[in-house]
Structure formats: C-alpha cells, structure tokens
C-alpha cells in the first residue's frame, strides 16, 4: 500500500485519468443497473405488493394475463380461500378534462378478497361500486386529483377516482384498481366470465381445468418484454464489466512495463515479489474504489436531476452486487501485470 499510495500521489494526472475512466465505467454501470432495476420494478410493482406466490390462468393463454379468461362455470367449481383472489385485467387509456391521457392497466378486484383487503392507500378510500376507481400515484404526478371523473377506453360513463395507492405498476404502466364488474365492462365480456386469473399467496393452488397454476416468477418472466429487457440490461452491464477489466488491465500493464527497471532494482535488493505484487493489487484496489466512490456520487447527483418519470431505482443488494462486481473485475484486471512482476529479472539492471 505504501508504494501504491506514494506513486498515485506523485503521478496525480496519470492516475487521475485512470480513476476517471473507472468513474465513467462505474457511473454507466450504476445508471444502467438503476434503470434495469427501476424498469423491472415498474413491471412487477403491483404483483410484488400483493406478495403472491402463484397465479392460475387459462392453460391456453400462454401465461398471459391479458389473454386469459375464467368462465363463471369454472369459477363455480372453486371455493376461494382467504389467500386467493380473482383478478381481471384490461389495458385502458384514461382521459379526463384538462388532464393528459394516460395508458394504464385496469385491474378488477373482488372486495374482501386479499388483494383488495391489503391495498394500502395514500389518499381516499377503496372502490365501493363499479364506477369508482383507485389509481396509482403516477396519476397524481400527472395532475389527476381525488374526485376527478375519468373516461376509460371511450366506454360510456365516467369513473371517479376515489383513492390513490403507491407502487402500483404493471408492465411499466400505472395500475387503476376497480371492481370486477367494471372490468367486465371494460373488457367487453358478459357476466359469463368471472375474471382473468386467480392469484394466490400460496405456491400451490388446486384449480379445475382449463386453469393452470404458475409460479409468480414464471408469470413475471412472461410479462411482455420483461425477460428481453432484463437480458439486454444484463448483457450491457456484463460487457461494461468486461470493459472495466480490459481498461484496468491495459493501464496497469503499461504502467508496470514502465516500472520494470525499478522493480528489477528492488528485486536485486531483495525486496520480495510478494511486496511488489501486493503493491500492484492494492494500487488497483485504490484506483477502482476511487472510481467507484466518484461514480456513485455522480450517480446520486444524476438521480437528483432526472425527471420523475425516469424509472431509475436502487436497492442495497443491487448496489453491493454491482460495486463488488466492478471491484472484483478490477482486481482480476490487475492480475495480468502481476505475471510481469513475477518474471522480472534483476540481472537486467546490473550491467556494464
């Protein structure tokens, strides 16, 4: 650490540039991770808030909520427990006077079932009839207020916003909770259909044919675009990690090459290779940690100025994982010049 710190302090510009490179890479990784996590959250926020373990859908619906319909006949064959709830889904566009149009996911619930029961409101009350709705706070951010009368999908009649709830997004769209009766109207189906799905807080639920139970994770993975989006971000972050390894390895390799005559003298004087190797590794550690800290600060600053609509979000395990990943790849990069140090021949500096 002694030699590492002394060298960094003496060669401020050189090491400042390396830290700058790591800063930019870590900044990009942090922002991409935040966006990936934020978008993933906006896909699943509503599902997460239900704390559901499984979802039963029509087996021919290709694990798609929007394609699934449960008939009343099928529903009659089931007696739902406290841990189960009907859910009806319909994509809607909300319109109101002097408010922007908003695309949303309408979710019809049956009062007293667990999703409705556990719904936490930030304002107002739950829907008490087919013309009342509870909207995600994204509506509030767009200027909607309690009591606003909203048209959904040009269906006749207006719906009144009677409550707001936070963290209610599905497939990156704000959720509008209402009744199953309203869902039938919006979906254009008769009372012969009960709902789109049966959601359960248990991993296993016995359901009659033609329903099939899927784990919540399987259900989430099949949300439109969810897996593709996550895979894209994972690849981008992975490639950035690889770039971090290459950048650190190349810089340290070049710097080590330049220092080989000094290292040869030190080896001749009996300074153990271990000391020189630990100097290089601790130098890499300092550079990466410096870059990460500055990258994290820049990310925090960026988050403060980003518009509310940008879906960026962080949590501790994610940050720790990303930070640990870059740190690990940085140290891996530093192992490449270590080979040079181990091979340094002190004979080369004794000549004449």
């Amino acid at each position: 650490m002694f030699l590492a710190l002394k060298e960094i302090r003496h060669e401020k510009l050189r090491y400042g540039l390396i830290i700058g490179m790591i800063l930019l890479i870590s900044y990009l990784v942090y922002v991409l991770s935040g966006l990936a996590y934020g978008l993933a959250q906006q896909n699943t926020q509503a599902i997460d808030s239900w704390q559901a373990q499984s979802v039963a859908l029509d087996k021919d619906a290709n694990v798609s909520l929007s394609q699934s319909l449960i008939t009343a006949d099928t529903a009659d064959k089931m007696t739902l427990k406290r841990s189960q709830a009907y859910l009806g889904q319909a994509g809607v566009v909300a319109k109101a006077s002097q408010r922007p149009n908003l695309s949303a996911q309408f979710l019809g619930l049956q009062p007293q079932q667990f999703i409705s029961r556990n719904l936490t409101l930030t304002a107002g009350h739950k829907a008490r009839n087919d013309r009342q709705i509870v909207a995600d706070t994204a509506f509030q951010q767009q200027g909607y207020k309690l009591g606003d009368r909203v048209t959904l999908n040009s269906v006749d009649g207006k719906y009144t916003i009677v409550g707001f709830t936070k963290n209610a997004k599905l497939s990156v769209a704000p959720v509008v909770y209402g009744t199953l009766g309203a869902w039938r109207t919006l979906r254009g189906v008769t009372p012969a259909f009960k709902a789109s799905a049966v959601v359960s807080q248990r991993a296993h639920q016995a359901v009659p044919s033609p329903l099939k139970t899927y784990s919540t994770q399987t259900f989430i993975n099949k949300l439109p675009g969810y897996s593709a989006q996550n895979t894209t971000f994972t690849f981008m972050i992975g490639f950035l990690m690889i770039i971090a390894v290459v950048v650190i390895a190349v810089f340290l390799y070049i710097l080590t090459m330049q220092k080989l005559p000094n290292y040869a003298v030190l080896r001749a004087q009996g300074i153990p290779s271990k000391f020189l190797v630990s100097t290089t590794l601790s130098q890499a550690f300092i550079l990466v940690v410096g870059g990460l800290v500055l990258g994290a600060l820049l990310t925090v600053a960026t988050m403060r100025i980003l518009p509310l609509g940008v879906p960026i979000s962080f949590n501790l395990p994610l940050l720790a994982g990303v930070t640990g990943g870059i740190l690990l790849t940085g140290i891996l990069g530093a192992l490449i010049p270590v080979k040079l140090i181990l091979k340094v021949d002190p004979v080369t500096v004794i000549g004449g």
């Binding site: 002694f2 003496h10 060669e11 009996g270 300074i271 004794i350």
Partner: protein, 224 residues
C-alpha cells in the same frame, strides 16, 4: 570463515556454437573488514561476477557461499531474504524509485525490513557525509546524476548489510566525490567490519582497496 567466497565458478551463456564462457574457474574470497576492487573493461564478466556473488544468478558450476552458507542449496525466496538482510547492492542505473522522495527511499526499506537498519542518527550522519542531507525531500527526477548515485549508496548502506556489492558506484561522480565515496566504502570495511566488493573500471578507487583483482576474459587474478 570468509564473508563471501566463490570457488571454481564457471558461467556459460548460450548453447552449442554460440556458447560463451563468461567466468572461467573464478576463485574469490573476502573477509569482513576488507574492501576488494574488481577491475576490468566492459564485457570482461564483472556484472556476471557480481550477480553470481549476490545470488541473483546461479553459476553453471562451482560454489558460492555467503557466511558459509551455500547459495545453491537455498530456495529463491531465501536468496531474496539473504539479499535483503545481508547484502547491500549499489547499482549503476535505475537505482531509485522515481516516485519516492529521498526520505521515502529509506522508508521503503523500513517497510520490508523493519529491523536492523541504521538508526535515524546514523542515517543523518551518513547523509551528511555524502552531502545529500539537504535534498531528502526531493524526488530522484530533481537530482543530478551524482546526487542520485550518492542517494543509491546511502540507500544500500541503510540496510546495514554485512556485505556490500557495488556496481560502478562512482560512474557519475567527479574526483572529489569519488574520494568521499571511496572513503565511505573504506570506513565501512575497516570501522564497521563489512566485506565490500566493488566492480568498476574506475581506477580512482584503487587507493582505497585492500585487494585489487583484475577480471579479463572471465579470468580473475589478484594483483600482487
């Protein structure tokens, strides 16, 4: 027991027709308290002699002992330790770590060898004698060739080694400084009971030596 001894040492480089003998049946021994000067022109094998004596290279055949210990029987790690604790190298080029001040060059030694180095008072005396006390906060890049060489000498002596191996220690010095360095090396041998071996082609050091050797075409001979 000699502090350092080379017995029937041969060193070959290359293979087949390009095989070259650099040291030819070299015998050498130095006791604590002696300053030995090995004189020879470029290409005579001086550097090979020094690297083999310091355990940096191994001879093709023959035996090298430091304080009675055969270097051939030591692991590389133990030879590193031996160099750190018992041998001080004064080298010609790249002697100093460029990003350490003169003061930090000594601090670096403390890091790898915390004990057995010169006391702060003794170090200060040595720096005074070498005329480098006023430049302890300078980086090597700001020093002249002569100053760098004197710092390198001080750095090697700071480890307080039993054996000092010097490769052209006066190459960049004027005659006055050569005398200072010569006297320091002489004092180290006589007053501090160290075995000092200097390989050089600088004849100005001859007057300080107890023994003068000539190395010519790999053969070492003691001057009468």
């Amino acid at each position: 027991m000699p502090a350092l001894a080379l017995q029937h040492v041969n060193k070959f480089f290359g293979q087949g027709t390009s095989r070259v003998q650099v040291l030819n049946d070299v015998n050498f021994a130095t006791q604590p308290g002696e300053l030995s000067l090995v004189l020879g022109p470029s290409g005579s094998g001086k550097s090979t002699f020094l690297t083999i004596a310091g355990g940096i290279q191994t001879p093709t055949d023959g035996r090298v002992t430091v304080d009675g210990q055969a270097l051939a029987s030591m692991a590389a790690k133990d030879r590193d330790k031996l160099r750190l604790h018992q041998i001080g190298f004064i080298l010609q080029a790249h002697n100093l770590v460029p990003y350490l001040t003169v003061r930090d060059q000594f601090a670096l030694v403390d890091r790898v060898k915390p004990q057995g180095n010169l006391s702060p008072v003794a170090l200060h005396q040595l720096l005074d004698e070498l005329g480098i006390a006023p430049i302890v906060d300078q980086y090597p890049g700001n020093l002249s060739g002569g100053q760098s060489q004197r710092v390198a000498i001080a750095r090697a002596l700071y480890q307080d080694p039993a054996i000092i191996l010097a490769d052209e220690p006066t190459a960049a010095l004027d005659s006055d400084r050569v005398k200072v360095v010569g006297r320091i090396l002489q004092q180290l041998a006589q007053d501090h009971h160290k075995a000092v071996v200097v390989v050089t082609h600088d004849l100005r050091l001859r007057e300080f030596a107890d023994h003068v050797y000539q190395l010519m075409d790999g053969q070492l001979t003691l001057e009468a």
